[in-house]
Symmetry: C2
Subunit: 224 residues, 2 copies
């Protein structure tokens, strides 16, 4: 799989980083799995150095676990951790959304409408998952973009990535999906109406429902 040829100003290391991040998010690696470095080396046809650098970055970011002298592992999926991630998302994205509503300008309103529209179009093509994921992430980023805090945005991004490891693994839930899709539009409406309180409440509910979908990644309740 000679996937990393003819790049533009990018470094091998950064290309592998992006690729691996995407694959980790999409559950292409078994949770808890040990990373076989030389296998990846073959698979992407790169040297050890850029590969290891990418793995180091992913570990610092939290998408891998690094143990001295024992290489890298994919973090296990853990109910408590998912709950933690969801709870933090509610706190931080709620905070960011309120601030965005206070500070966002007319240009933001336009971009928000555009992002929501693109996402809505994608909602109707369930076959193009990658495209939908892309637009979905972009919509949520747009929503909180003008919050004014670079660090808050950074943390939110990181939490989204963590959350997506679970959500993308969960089975489809069409009824909830429809509600979630509707909420995207409602979030825009509340943002444009500058109703911070209601927007925050809706965001809370949106993340809570997503969390319940993501719980599906643990398989159908072995406790029932």
């Amino acid at each position: 799989m000679r996937a990393l040829e003819g790049r533009g100003g990018r470094t091998r290391s950064s290309l592998i980083y992006d690729t691996l991040r995407e694959e980790l998010l999409n559950g292409r690696f078994q949770a808890g799995e040990k990373i076989a470095i030389s296998a990846l080396k073959e698979r992407y046809d790169v040297g050890l150095s850029p590969l290891r650098e990418a793995l180091n970055r992913l570990a610092a970011y939290g998408l891998l676990i690094q143990e001295n002298q024992k290489g890298f592992r994919v973090p296990r999926l853990d109910r408590d951790e998912l709950e933690d991630i969801a709870e933090m998302r509610r706190e931080l994205e709620g905070m960011a959304l309120v601030r965005s509503i206070e500070r966002g300008d007319a240009e933001w309103e336009s971009e928000l409408l555009a992002a929501a529209h693109r996402l809505k179009r994608a909602d109707e093509c369930p076959e193009q998952v990658d495209e939908w994921e892309h637009l979905h992430g972009r919509f949520h980023r747009t929503l909180v973009a003008p919050c004014g805090s670079a660090w808050l945005l950074r943390f939110i991004e990181q939490l989204h990535d963590q959350f997506d490891r679970y959500r993308r693994l969960a089975p489809e839930a069409p009824e909830v999906r429809r509600v979630l899709d509707t909420q995207h539009g409602e979030l825009v409406a509340l943002a444009l109406a500058r109703d911070a309180r209601a927007a925050r409440a809706l965001m809370d509910d949106h993340i809570q429902r997503s969390y319940e979908v993501a719980l599906g990644s643990f398989g159908e309740r072995p406790d029932a």
Copy 2:
């Protein structure tokens, strides 16, 4: 400077990481400075691979900036960013403190008292800065430790590191320092009294004052 010999289970990469992190926090590198990799290589007597891996991790963590094909740079100090960091510290540490007060058990109370006591002793030995920094960090970590969210703790740690880049560079402010030292004790008292609201308010004030001290890292107001 053959500083990285005879290690115990640690990897060269992780040793350099710790060393560089510490030096970055202590302002041993000029803000905005370009990292001369081969100079560091000589200085710590290590190969390029572990050094670059450490730099990659530090960049992912936010203590360095990485630009494709242009190596690594120390982030500039920026008033707006410091404000952002302080604001986020107020939000996140406030949140974590409230939760700790709700959830912390008797063992936590003991450790908190111990940590505060150790810190107080160190307050009186202004010559042992490193020791004080160590105990200060530990005190603040203890304060929020039982908040129940690993991710919240992670973000707080990261923000502390960012904040310290500024604070440790700022000139001493003995009067404010005395107030801040006193507040550590008061925080413990409020935590033990389980007065979440007052504790949060005090933490807010504590961080705000620290922020004002840290502003000193920009030199004496060129705008006056």
